[in-house]
Subunit: 341 residues, 2 copies
DNA sequence: CTGTTAGCGCCTTCAA
DNA sequence: TTGAAGGCGCTAACAG
């Protein structure tokens, strides 16, 4: 069952080293010998032992960097750090150490300075969550050109040549939300859509997906109304007050980004004949509380923990394989109150 | 950063072997030496290298068995097999080989005979999906008494002393479904609940959870009606016909177990003013089709693939640690049509 | 009770 | 272009 390099070598009448050269395509093998080895490999159905391989390879020590911009939500930041922390533990045995760099602004300069500083320290791979700005994109391209793996997570920079992206498909997550809302709200009832900042592609994408799905399920433009939260608590609260004063028969609220709490507070502090169904994103503890209390109906999560964790693990594979499995779009997870029992 | 046994040994003034004895609690170490080693361990913050450990330990070859009863759904069986297959590949490097045993009936005798046969072949651990019958439970107890890990998956045998269980909490999954339904259906509207076979605890549990949640959300007993599908296509179809003839204003159908297709076909072949919302379990390809077509509204999945895969991996940990992390209740995953885009 | 040593299977350097 | 050999860090058997 278990076939080793040694056995293949014996079968082919060569040494372990030669088989290794063939298996790992290191070149410097005479074609006819290579042919013979390949046949032996096939005949014995050799598969390399990943554990042994990892152990031997762990001599090549490497340093990678996880870089991200802090958000306003401490919980969110903590989940990212937790993912990094767990990945760090996992990667240690592979001889890979992880440095963390946190940016405080969305200024391209800050990112680029931090990247350069990290490279000075001998970093040879990045997992990075950064705004999609031309300067950053170019910087990434220059790193990739130097054969350095760069993986974007959570928020993609698709214009760049990043090795791959780990995160949610925002448009799809908006569609999932739209589909949920369409099942909750009935003909003649109205929906309020909270968009963050329209200039941010990421915010608009979810709303686009949401609206697409509403249309698909037969809703009319008059049935929904978009407002901009500016990602600000007070703005959100006031907008909701205004809209609920103007309109009636609102049965759905979609919060495409934080601050979910503003919406929760608004609903708790006002009473309605028919309480509106709330669909929102990301499982912050406060958001889950609203879900449990029945103020919110559904949360769609993107597992930010997994994103930071997984992107770091992919970096390891990138070192071994020169590349990594074509990125990874992590799931769109739906939760209702009963999920947290 | 990386601390090895060797370094700890040097620090404590003993040999690697002795440190190993302390780390792995193999005994035979003089208390004062042990004390010294423990201090060194702490001082250097030693953590064992899992890769190296696994490689060395893989010398101890082991055989485990995955045993399950075939269901009527070929897709379901295939997912179980896929999980086993992937686990097999993963475990190979650990020196663990996996045998599969498939039972055709729910007869305790068949299971017990197959278990005995496996033990003849040198199996030393089981991952098993079996009905909860006293004879099987006793058999499991006798294996566990001989220090053999036995993990139940998908369907638990809680009366037994199985090492742990990997699967969904059925009651909770019913609650999740109930909560969804409660958000879809409004006052005055009715819900039909398809229970499989009431004598099967597993079927009843989901329905209990479902009803619990309906009550919690203020629904009245008159609003729902339970029927028994017998897990049979024709029975299900006929029951639905009858109920829809008798009652009107039915807006929700909950299928707690297969055959979901009977429900799908029924809805496609009849037309209603208000099409009822369908919430059901398990992502068989046919069920997903109905979801995509908009005939079904939500599917709640239990990732059976992951259950068979994960239970086998836990067996590996059980060999190393004598026990394994207190089982694992895998998630309750909610899907709507947009999830499959 | 403790130290020594021979692997586990692969990777990598160094000679040849 | 190839073979030989010395690790990677840990486990386990054996000798003392």
């Amino acid at each position: 069952m278990k076939v080793t390099l040694e056995q293949v070598a014996k079968y082919a009448g060569v040494s372990r080293g030669t088989v290794d050269r063939v298996v790992n395509k290191r070149g410097n093998v005479k074609p006819e010998v290579e042919q013979r080895v390949r046949e032996a490999l096939k005949a014995l159905n050799y598969e390399r032992n990943k554990i042994a391989s990892a152990l031997a390879y762990s001599k090549n020590e490497k340093k990678v960097c996880a870089m991200f911009q802090k958000t306003d939500s401490e919980d969110y930041n903590a989940k990212i750090m937790q993912g990094i922390h767990d990945a760090k533990k996992e990667l240690k045995d592979f001889g890979i150490s992880v440095e963390v760099a946190i940016c405080n602004t969305s200024d391209a300069g800050e990112f680029i300075r931090k990247i350069d500083a990290m490279i000075q320290e001998g970093i040879c791979g990045f997992a990075i969550k950064a705004p999609s700005l031309p300067e950053i994109s170019e910087k990434i391209d220059s790193l990739v050109q130097q054969k350095m793996p760069v993986i974007t997570f959570n928020s993609d920079i698709p214009e760049s040549h990043r090795t791959c992206f780990v995160g949610q498909n925002l448009y799809q997550s908006g569609r999932v939300a739209g589909n949920i809302m369409a099942s909750l709200v009935r003909p003649g009832e109205k929906i309020v859509i909270g968009c963050g900042i329209p200039q941010y592609n990421a915010h608009q994408e979810r709303v686009d997906g949401f609206v697409y799905e509403l249309k698909k399920r037969g809703f009319q433009e008059e049935q929904w109304k978009v407002f901009h939260t500016n990602q600000n608590y007070d703005v959100t609260y006031r907008c909701l007050e205004e809209i609920f004063e103007e309109e009636d028969n609102i049965r759905g609220i979609y919060m495409s980004v934080e601050p979910n709490e503003a919406c929760g507070a608004f609903l708790e502090e006002h009473s309605f004949l028919q309480h509106p169904y709330v669909v929102c994103h990301d499982t912050a503890p406060e958001t889950i509380e609203y879900l449990k209390k029945g103020v919110f109906e559904y949360i769609i999560d993107q597992d930010i923990y997994m994103q930071s964790y997984y992107s770091l693990l992919l970096l390891r594979d990138a070192f071994r394989n020169g590349t990594c499995d074509s990125g990874k779009v992590l799931g769109v997870n739906i939760y209702n109150a009963a999920c947290f029992e």
